[in-house]
Symmetry: C2
Amino acid sequence: MLKLTKKVDYALLAMHFMGHQDMDQVSTIRDISENYQIPMEILAKVLQKLSKKGLLQSHHAPKGGYTLKRPIREISILEVINAVEGPIGILSCSEGQDKVCQQIENCDIRSPLERIQGKILWLLENMSLEELSQAVPTTGGVIHGSFDLLGQPRYH
Amino acid sequence: MLKLTKKVDYALLAMHFMGHQDMDQVSTIRDISENYQIPMEILAKVLQKLSKKGLLQSHHAPKGGYTLKRPIREISILEVINAVEGPIGILSCSEGQDKVCQQIENCDIRSPLERIQGKILWLLENMSLEELSQAVPTTGGVIHGSFDLLGQPRYH
DNA sequence: TGATAACAGACCAAAATGGTCTGCGATTAC
DNA sequence: GTAATCGCAGACCATTTTGGTCTGTTATCA
Ligand code: SF4
Ligand code: SF4
């Protein structure tokens, strides 16, 4: 539970991969699939969804492939997740969930749980794909006195 | 994906329920199950796990039942989740996941994703069961100039 | 015009989830 | 002492989600 699906993983890898190329250079499914050892067919589906949601531009021809429609710094993790998995929520009673929770009539913890959900979504929305390139230094590199929104130290 | 399981939902409801009783007053599975319309058998299992993990004390007799071992303000949401679902992680490559990720050799986004995971766990660890009782006011109540760690306003 | 690349969707196996059923063990009220 | 009341334990099962395969079609251009 509370786990990212493989499809999301693949999507993030693919987007990250393309982010490290010139904006106009195309990447094929084969390129990405070989680079990360991802089954081609399933990666194909994932990229299709990303392109339908306007995150990627597909070039439908020989020597074709995919290009990013926007620079990765303008794309959030949440956008990618939503593109491949649809609207998400940590609760069975969240907006867009088809099944209705049996406890919803008697539940008295819904609103606080929705607050947690909001925070998690906020987190994913405010992290861009660009940050996937920033490794956390294991030693040194801390910007003294500077903390992010979770109270954790910033790095150079 | 990224959804809390029903068992966790039940656990949180149950813990919340007991938190609203005197520490020494026992609650039976039947009490809780009727209050929230939860199937008795499955709630039983959940409470067993909570008791094995030391969050609940079971009283094994007629007029018996469960009591909290600690006040709810000293129990985090994460503790409850870990008790009923085991160690969690949003990644397939997280500690304690049995299956190994096929991409782990070529993955170049692991460390940033682990940072997200860390933030989410931090969030759950630093929210106590007590906060499940605090509804967010829809209007008014904001403490001016006071924000929590996610930059959201605090309430009275 | 055919090789190349994306598109589309049916199909399937394995795993996770949510739930049921059946019987046992401890305690204590009577 | 024993029967009623409670939790304990685990096998079992149906449904949903997931991860993946297979087969074929369509658009483009060298
Ligand atoms: S139990 Fe409450 S919070 Fe959980 S899904 Fe049902 S309504 Fe939402
Ligand atoms: S792809 Fe990278 S981050 Fe995702 S599970 Fe595999 S190793 Fe971990």
